[in-house]
Symmetry: C2
Subunit: 440 residues, 2 copies
């Protein structure tokens, strides 16, 4: 877990602002949930690996010594959302579209762009099974990436029912589907041969592994994206022919592609039958955002129609997409994608302290300049002016203002522009306006 110093926070705030702006244009509303959930809310929602990575909080009071944990840190934003929808169902709109930009915690091994505390930027739409929902999520995620400056992001698309159908037709027993998907999810990291080894370890025959990977793991053909997508869907359709759920899943993917055709997602959606997604709660379309220069994804999502029902006892269809802020920031930093203005300094003006006896004058001047919408720092100690200028130069503040005895007598101020070295006197009255002009 990391500290974010001012320059970091400014970059994060910029990226969050861009993403939030896009999410709001798509009609998503803000939601925030507590960092801490009851431990039962989280356990059993993320698969075995997920359970292991949840940070658990000791029960208070007399039970503390027993090591019993009753609370846990939020592991993602989707399960808390599902709990909220179950709890507040009667007060929320029928189609609840929310965005949520908050940290989550996983006791994972850190890697590049992977941390134990990281922010997710989620959009989810509750209440509809329409493929319009998936198309809108894909469009919002792609537009957010474009607004950040990512022209080359790819949004991979698959469907859990298609995966299930392929596994079934290939002869993988139903109770091994979870294992088979977890191994497939590692394809990016360990390659086809690695997945085969994993399959063998889990007792799947080499022949079955070859069949599954021959369909799901085949590389994309080299054509236009839309053509590739059509080829991939046709091929898997031929393989699962007659498997009702898989065929419906393929039709669902085709609907999403057609609906997204005139949205910002159009050029970025690519059918990738090997996409599995690690989390266990997905039930329909699954998506993952990637860029060429970072292994792993910058975000992902999908449909999870059963999750709210685990809290409510009544099904509420749902789908969502989550952008991972830290990994996005890592790539943006490496590619120098941040606009220059967000590395601004803390203050526009530093007011030097002439001497301790006139420190009250410095504070009164600061008040006046702040009321004039300037960001003003007052040098706190009555140090020599040379030392104060040295400090100013070290902070990057553009203007230093001095109200010495001469200036006071003449109702003037001295302003030094540290960017040019120029120094001038200006009238004390309406100084804020003049200083704002100098800042440009």
């Amino acid at each position: 877990m990391r500290d974010f110093l001012p320059a970091d926070v400014r970059r994060r705030t910029y990226a969050i602002g861009v993403i939030r702006g896009v999410y709001e244009r798509y009609g998503f509303e803000p939601l925030e949930t507590p960092a801490v959930e009851n431990i039962e809310t989280l356990l059993g929602k993320y698969g075995d690996e997920g359970n292991q990575l949840i940070f658990k909080i000791l029960k208070r009071g007399e039970h503390e010594a027993s090591g019993q944990a009753d609370l846990a840190l939020r592991y993602d934003l989707t399960v808390p959302l599902s709990r909220v929808v179950a709890e507040h169902r009667s007060t929320l709109p029928k189609f609840f579209k929310r965005y949520q930009i908050q940290p989550v915690w996983r006791a994972d091994r850190p890697a590049r762009g992977r941390f134990r505390e990281f922010f997710q930027c989620d959009v989810d739409a509750m209440g509809s099974t329409s493929p319009v929902v998936e198309a809108e999520l894909c469009a919002a995620a792609c537009e957010a990436m474009q607004a950040l400056g990512f022209g080359d992001a790819v949004l991979r698309l698959n469907h859990r029912a298609v995966l299930g159908g392929v596994l079934e037709v290939a002869g993988v027993p139903t109770d091994r589907h979870g294992d088979a998907l977890v191994a497939l999810d590692k394809l990016d990291k360990i390659g086809l041969d690695g997945v085969k080894v994993e399959y063998e370890k889990r007792g799947l025959s080499p022949a079955v592994a070859d069949t599954v990977l021959g369909i799901l793991g085949s590389a994309a053909v080299s054509g236009a994206v839309a053509a590739d997508n059509a080829v991939a869907l046709d091929r898997v359709e031929a393989f699962v022919a007659g498997h009702e759920k898989a065929v419906a899943g393929i039709a669902n993917i085709r609907e999403v592609l057609a609906l997204a055709a005139r949205t910002p997602a159009a050029a970025q959606l690519r059918v990738d039958l090997s996409l599995a997604r690690g989390l266990s709660y997905y039930t329909g379309c699954i998506m993952e955002m990637t860029v060429p220069d970072l292994a792993g994804s910058l975000g992902g999502g999908g449909r999870y129609d059963d999750l709210v029902g685990m809290f409510l006892g009544q099904q509420v269809p749902a789908a969502g997409f989550s952008l991972g802020l830290e990994r996005i920031l890592v790539v943006m930093g490496e590619r120098a994608m941040f606009p220059a203005h967000i590395t601004a300094t803390a203050a526009d003006v530093l007011i030097a302290q002439w001497n301790a006896a006139t420190a009250g004058d410095a504070l009164a001047l600061a008040h006046e300049l702040r009321a004039g919408h300037l960001r003003v720092e007052v040098y706190p100690d009555a140090d020599k002016l040379g030392k104060q200028f040295k400090y100013a130069a070290s902070t990057g503040v553009p203007l230093v203002v001095i109200e010495g005895d001469d200036e006071r007598a003449a109702s003037e101020l001295t302003v030094k522009d540290l960017r040019t070295g120029d120094q001038q006197r200006l009238p004390r009255a309406n100084a804020a306006n003049r200083l704002r002009e100098m800042l440009g």
Copy 2:
């Protein structure tokens, strides 16, 4: 701990934005630290009561069963800041002025405006012992309150050395000062008689208690604030005459008052010798913000010159102020202080779905309107129009747009203004401009 539904988040975002804006005009820079700290960083910094209220996180892996905790949730923003300053000393400016607006967690019993997860809005200035620092903190805190609309906030001011001097002169043994201050800190809640009972419990004689409370607990005289402040300081100065540290503390309070005289804090600063502040790390001036209609404080702060040294082994003078967001929001809600515009709905426009076959057209239109800076929701299901209008009315969206077969043939759209009931046709081209005009 609570969920914040969209209307809550909008109110919180508004208040945070106002406070952040003021802090930035004072030249404070943003800092963010992780929610989780090493447990040793937190233990022993907040006094015994504080230690009890820290949420502890189970160590991972094999130690999990042992109940051993190695991490803990952030209890305030001051101790993490001190750790950051110690860790990053070489890269931070000599006078590091930072603001930090993040949640903290305390396993406290909840009360009105008191929660187990709550946001603090902190400003701190590191590196100077000048009273300019305290004056600027008081000004920033008061200006933030004024910007939120609080005209009647009072910023109470006291000094740890004055408290220590009074206790010493009254005959309280040095090793009982902590106890005496903890009891005094409850004066607001339990009254003078309650504090006397606490003092007796802790073995302080009734005579000593009377002396201490006679000086520290006497009600403010009824005069102008500045006159009251002078009276209080003169009276305590007479009592501690000759006690060097207490006399210096009184001089320090007078300096801060003089420096703040031409800042937004001027009319709100009130010397209150009974102010003790619960936290153990304060070393100089202490402050607390109150309003008449809420028991307890909306914020507080003070000087803590020794805290960074506990991490760095080298003293770095420091002072800070923390506004409590939740309590501020409670009072703002009760007083109806939120501007009307922040209760805005999620979307400006709802695009109705004419039928499933034309859903792609609806998404294309949505894309166009969003590019025109409108916040647009698309109705996801191909429900009857009446049902769609009913939904629109329930969400409060002002405009509903329909592109039916007739409209499409005429290159037009139908727009219904739900605020007036008016319905009209408008050209499909440049619809975003026309809709923005209708929204006003």
